[in-house]
């Protein structure tokens, strides 16, 4: 019978706490950057300028069809050889995570914008609003509502995906689990604790997502 010993791993609480903090930072950082890049790519994809929309398509396919793990490794090990500039593992991880999620966000944004009735654009145009005014004041607020559930869903996945940064030694939560396991030889407790911490981080988020979705369904 295995004798559980959480006490040993709890002694490394500061490592877990730091890992949890980094997981949070990489999640928020890559989600914020991903939204910014995603909006840019989404507008490029919708652009009537062929160069922009073609470039956006290449970007989308590239990042959607590559495993995140490969991207993380590529940005850390391959990119410096191409550019001749060394890159911090933290930067490489943030870059890979942000670009990866931006491709999915871009498609979610585009879907939301497309789902807004075309009559809305016409109504804005009929009162002489410019394209930019129509986009920000009329289309995006309605699109945001439509894409919120998909956006939250993708963001939940993104939080979990930050764990892949551990392969280039970014000391986020799952990496710290490995570290503590190495120190204590207690894989069961170390990784169970990591799993529980991820769960505690994400469970509230999925609950909010469910609430939001129900509310949105009621409102129209």
């Amino acid at each position: 019978m295995y004798s559980w010993d959480f006490y040993t791993v709890f002694q490394s609480w500061d490592l877990f706490l730091y890992g949890l903090w980094l997981t949070f930072v990489y999640s928020v950082g890559s989600i914020v950057l991903g939204v910014i890049f995603g909006l840019i790519v989404c507008f490029a994809r919708l652009s009537k300028v062929t160069l922009f929309s073609a470039a956006a398509r290449v970007y989308l396919e590239l990042f959607r069809c590559m495993p995140l793990l490969v991207l993380v490794l590529w940005f850390y090990y391959a990119l410096p050889m191409l550019t001749g500039m060394s890159i911090e593992n933290t930067t490489a991880a943030l870059l890979a995570l942000s670009l990866y999620v931006s491709a999915f966000y871009a498609e979610i944004f585009r879907g939301g914008i497309k789902a807004v009735d075309s009559g809305q654009h016409e109504a804005g145009a009929a009162i002489a609003m410019s394209h930019v005014q129509i986009m920000w004041r009329i289309i995006l607020p309605q699109a945001a509502k439509k894409m919120l559930p998909a956006f939250i869903n993708q963001s939940v996945i993104q939080v979990k995906n930050t764990s892949l940064a551990s392969v280039i030694s970014v000391a986020e939560l799952s990496y710290m689990g490995a570290v503590v396991n190495g120190d204590t030889y207690r894989p069961l407790e170390s990784y169970t604790l990591v799993a529980v911490l991820y769960f505690l981080l994400l469970f509230p988020l999925t609950q909010v997502a469910d609430r939001v979705e129900k509310k949105l369904r009621l409102s129209d």
Binding site: G119, Q120, E122, A123, G124, I127, A128, M129, Q133, D220
Partner: protein, 253 residues
Amino acid sequence: MNDAPPIFSVRNLSKSFGPVQVFSDINLDVTQGEVIGVIGPSGCGKSTLIRCLNMMEIPNGGQIFFRGRPTTANFRGRNGSIGAGELRRKVGMVFQQFNLFPHKTVIENVIEGPVVVLKEPRQEAMERATELLRSVGLADKRNAFPNHLSGGQKQRVAIARALAMRPEVMLFDEVTSALDPELVGEVLNVMRKLAEGGMTMVIVTHEMAFAADVADRVIFLDEGTIAAEGSADAVIHKPTQERLKRFLARFHA
């Protein structure tokens, strides 16, 4: 006054979607204070024609002059021409499907144009919007959201929203076609009041009795041209062309 150029002068206008020619060589003047009814079979290009008047559709050939000035499809005009932006400030449009902004309240719908486009102070715009809503009989709905309104109420808000821009001419594209029959009257009454107030209007409609009643002039659009044109009485009550007669027969039946 009589020498002033018409509000719209349409010259040799043509429009096609890809290989499909909708109409060609359309000529039409809309003078100040005139109410024009546009009728014709489904798909003949009535919507396309009035959507060209505010550059919602870009014509393929010909010219549209607004008060004597040439118009262009670009948002900003140059060299004396009127761009789509300026044109749409002066030309109001109401749609069959209302197209109210569902995320904004009734009054926010009405002040959107004045505040965002005309840069009117919000307070001033609110007061005028309240006045306009009263004139279409919806003062009590100012803080409601569009999805709590009936179709007839929505369309009256849409008319108020267009009027809030202080347009010089109003375009109506089958604005009662999506309404339950019992709600048609309240919208037509608002339009009738507008016409009596001297508003210049171009009205695409299937309401023949209404067209005969309010229009100074009726245009029958058919097979890509203006197939008949004249006083409401002449076109609707005393048609001469065979195709026009057959078209009208469907409404009298």
